[in-house]
C-alpha cells in the first residue's frame, strides 16, 4: 500500500440540510489501494459523505480532491468515481452485456475492446457466460457483482459503495465480503464503503471511520478502533463493551478481557445471573454491586460455574474515559 499522496483528499467538508442535519468538519485522506469504511448508525451522515464524493449532492463548505484535482463542484458524470448502490443498480431493460457496455460506449471505446474487456471482467467476477442474461434472471449477489463490474470497467479512481450488501442474505453477504476483498486485492482499487454493520466494517476494511451525528468520531485500523476506542460512543458501537463507574471516570472493558475465578482470588466479586452457551465460548452475566457486566469464557471453563454462584473476577485490560466523553 502506497501512502505517499492521498488518492482522495477531503478538507473541512460540510453538508448541512435545511433541517440542520448533515455532516460537519470532515477531514479525511484516502490512500490508494485501501478499503476505507464509513461506519455508523443510520442518520450519522455516512451516506452523505459518500454521495458528496460521487457528486450526487452539493456540499455546503469544504473541498474534495481526487488524484490531486479538485472535483468539489463537478457533477457525477465528470468525476472519476464509480458508485455501487444498495439495490436496483442495474438497468432492468438491458442485458448484462448492455449494462456493462453502456459506459464504455459513451467513452467511444472500440467495439472489439468492449467485448474483450467485458469478458475479462466477468471472468474476474466469476460470472462468465452471463452476457445475454437480464438482471432479473440473476440472484441478488450476482446482480451486485455485475454492478461492481460495471463501475470497475470504467477504471474509476475510487469505487464508492453504499451499503451494497445490506439487501442480501446473511450467507451471501459473507461471500460477497470475501469476493470484494479478493477483487480489491487483485486490481488494487481504492474503495470507500458505507455500512452500519460493524462486523462488515471490521472484516472488510483497512481503515474504519466511525461516524457520530455528522462528525467523525474516530479513524483507525479495525484493531485500533477495537482495542483503543477514542470515546465511550465508539467503544459501545464496536463490539461489546462493559462499563463500570469509578469516581468521575468510566472504566470500559471487553467481555473477553474478564477472567473469572472460583477460588476467590479476583479483585472484584459478583453473582452469576445467567450462563449462555454460544458455541465454543459462553457469555456469562455477572451481577456486581451496582451494575451487571458480561464476560466471555471458554466453554470448558463453564463446567465449574453455575447460576447463582458467587465468584470473583479480574479485568485483564482496562480503558478509562472521563465522564461524558
Amino acid at each position: 500500500m502506497k501512502t505517499a499522496t492521498p488518492k482522495v483528499e477531503i478538507k473541512q467538508l460540510a453538508k448541512v440540510y435545511p433541517n440542520g442535519d448533515g455532516v460537519r468538519d470532515i477531514n479525511l485522506d484516502i490512500r490508494e489501494g485501501e478499503i476505507i469504511t464509513l461506519l455508523g448508525p443510520s442518520g450519522c451522515g455516512k451516506t452523505t459523505i459518500l454521495r458528496a464524493l460521487g457528486g450526487f449532492i452539493d456540499v455546503t463548505r469544504g473541498s474534495i480532491s481526487i488524484n490531486g484535482e479538485e472535483v468539489t463542484h463537478l457533477p457525477p458524470e465528470q468525476r472519476p468515481t464509480g458508485m455501487v448502490f444498495q439495490s436496483y443498480n442495474l438497468w432492468p431493460h438491458m442485458t448484462v452485456e448492455e449494462n456493462l457496455a453502456f459506459g464504455l460506449k459513451l467513452r467511444k471505446t472500440p467495439k472489439k475492446d468492449i467485448k474483450r474487456r467485458i469478458e475479462e471482467m466477468l471472468e474476474i467476477m466469476r460470472l462468465p457466460g452471463t452476457e445475454k442474461k437480464y438482471p432479473n434472471q440473476l440472484s441478488g449477489g450476482q446482480q451486485q457483482r455485475i454492478a461492481i463490474a460495471r463501475s470497475l470497467l470504467l477504471e474509476p479512481a475510487v469505487l464508492l459503495m453504499d451499503e451494497p450488501f445490506s439487501a442480501l442474505d446473511a450467507k451471501i453477504r459473507m461471500q460477497m465480503r470475501e469476493e470484494l476483498k479478493r477483487i480489491q486485492a487483485e486490481l488494487n482499487i481504492t474503495v470507500v464503503f458505507v455500512t452500519h454493520d460493524q462486523e462488515e466494517a471490521m472484516s472488510l476494511s483497512h481503515r474504519i471511520v466511525v461516524m457520530d451525528k455528522g462528525k467523525m468520531a474516530q479513524v483507525g485500523t479495525p484493531a485500533e478502533i477495537y482495542d483503543k476506542p477514542a470515546s465511550t460512543y465508539v467503544a459501545s458501537f464496536i463490539g461489546e463493551m462493559n462499563f463500570l463507574e469509578r469516581g468521575g471516570e468510566q472504566l470500559a472493558f471487553r467481555p473477553e478481557d474478564v477472567s473469572i475465578h472460583t477460588d476467590g482470588n479476583g479483585m472484584r466479586s459478583g453473582v452469576i445471573r445467567s450462563i449462555m452457551l454460544l458455541g465454543h465460548y459462553a457469555s456469562v452475566t455477572i451481577q456486581t454491586e451496582n451494575t451487571t457486566i458480561k464476560a466471555f469464557v471458554p466453554r470448558h471453563e463453564t463446567v465449574e460455574l453455575e447460576e447463582g454462584q458467587t465468584i470473583s473476577f479480574d479485568l485483564n485490560k482496562l480503558l478509562t474515559y472521563k465522564k461524558g466523553a
Binding site: E77, G82, H93
Partner: protein, 283 residues
C-alpha cells in the same frame, strides 16, 4: 343442498348478478346493433348498404376523416404535453412542480359542460382574448370556434390530466438509483432519457395514447358545442342518425364503424401488453 354442492356453486352465485347485468346491458345491445347494421329496413334481409353509405357518401367520408384528424392531433399533442409535464413533475423537486402536480388534477373536478362553456368564453371571437387585445388596441380573433381547432384545444384540456397521471406513475416507478447510476457512468441528460427513461416508460405512454384515442373517437359534448355544421365528428353524426333521422340501421352501422376505429388502438394496446419482453418476466 349439501355443503359440498354449495361450495361448488358459490362462485357462480356470487358472479351471477354482474354477469346478468353484463349480458343484458352490454352483450345483448352490441349483438343487436351488429345484427341490425346488416339488416334491410323494409325487408329485414341481409344488406351492406348502410356500411356502403358511410364509406362512400362524400359527406360521411369527410366526417370520418375529420374525426380521425381531430383524434390524431389530440393524441399527439396530448402525448407530447403530458410526457413533458410528467417528466417535469417527476424530476424537479421544486415547489412549483408540487403545485403544478396538484393543479394538473384540477380539470378532473370540473364538469365537462362547464369547462367547454368556460373555454368558449375565452376563445370565441368576442371572448376574453379578444377583449384583452382591445385593451392594447389590437383586434385578436382566434377563429377557433366551429372548426377543429377549438375541439382539439378542448380535447387536450380534458385529456392531459389523465394522460399525465398515467405517465407520471410510470416515471415514478423508475428507481432513482437507475438514473443516478447512469449519471455515474457519464451519461448526459439526453442519453439518460433515451437509454433509460424512454425504454422504461414508453409502454405506459402507449396506454395513455390508447385511452386518449378511444375516448375521443366517440366524443360528443365538445364537438356538439364547439363544432361547425359540416364536417361533423362521428359522435354528432351518430346523434343525427339516431335522433333526427331515426334511422336505427344506419345508426347501428355507424356505431360498428366507430367501434372498429376504437379497436384499432385496442389492438395496439393489447399487442404491446402481450408482447412481454424478456426483462419484464419475473425470474
Amino acid at each position: 343442498m349439501s355443503s359440498q354442492k354449495l361450495k361448488k356453486w358459490t362462485p357462480y352465485l356470487l358472479t351471477a348478478p354482474s354477469l346478468l347485468v353484463v349480458v343484458l346491458f352490454v352483450i345483448y345491445p352490441i349483438l343487436n346493433s351488429v345484427f341490425r347494421s346488416f339488416q334491410n329496413k323494409e325487408t329485414g334481409g341481409f344488406t351492406l348498404e348502410h356500411y356502403q353509405y358511410f364509406l362512400t357518401d362524400p359527406l360521411q367520408q369527410s366526417n370520418i376523416l375529420y374525426t380521425l384528424k381531430i383524434v390524431l392531433w389530440t393524441v399527439l399533442i396530448t402525448l407530447v404535453f403530458s410526457y413533458l409535464l410528467a417528466l417535469y413533475l417527476r424530476f424537479s423537486g421544486s415547489r412549483l412542480s408540487k403545485w403544478m402536480g396538484m393543479l394538473t388534477l384540477l380539470p378532473r373536478f370540473i364538469p365537462g359542460l362547464v369547462a367547454v362553456y368556460a373555454v368558449i368564453l375565452v376563445i370565441r371571437d368576442s371572448g376574453v382574448i379578444n377583449r384583452l387585445g382591445m385593451l392594447v388596441g389590437q383586434e385578436w380573433q382566434l377563429g377557433w370556434m366551429f372548426n377543429e381547432k377549438g375541439i382539439i384545444l378542448m380535447n387536450i384540456w380534458f385529456n392531459i390530466p389523465f394522460s399525465t397521471l398515467i405517465i407520471f406513475a410510470s416515471l415514478s416507478g423508475i428507481q432513482q438509483s437507475i438514473i443516478e447510476s447512469a449519471k455515474d457512468v457519464g451519461a448526459s441528460k439526453w442519453q439518460i432519457f433515451r437509454s433509460m427513461i424512454l425504454p422504461l416508460s414508453y409502454k405506459d405512454a402507449l396506454v395513455a395514447v390508447t385511452f386518449t384515442f378511444m375516448g375521443n373517437v366517440g366524443s360528443f359534448t365538445t364537438p356538439f358545442l364547439m363544432g361547425g355544421n359540416s364536417p361533423k365528428m362521428l359522435g354528432i353524426a351518430l346523434y343525427d342518425q339516431f335522433n333526427s333521422y331515426m334511422d336505427y340501421e344506419r345508426a347501428a352501422a355507424l356505431s360498428v364503424l366507430m367501434f372498429l376505429i376504437c379497436s384499432l388502438s385496442a389492438v395496439v394496446y393489447i399487442y404491446s401488453n402481450l408482447k412481454e419482453k424478456e426483462w419484464e418476466k419475473r425470474a
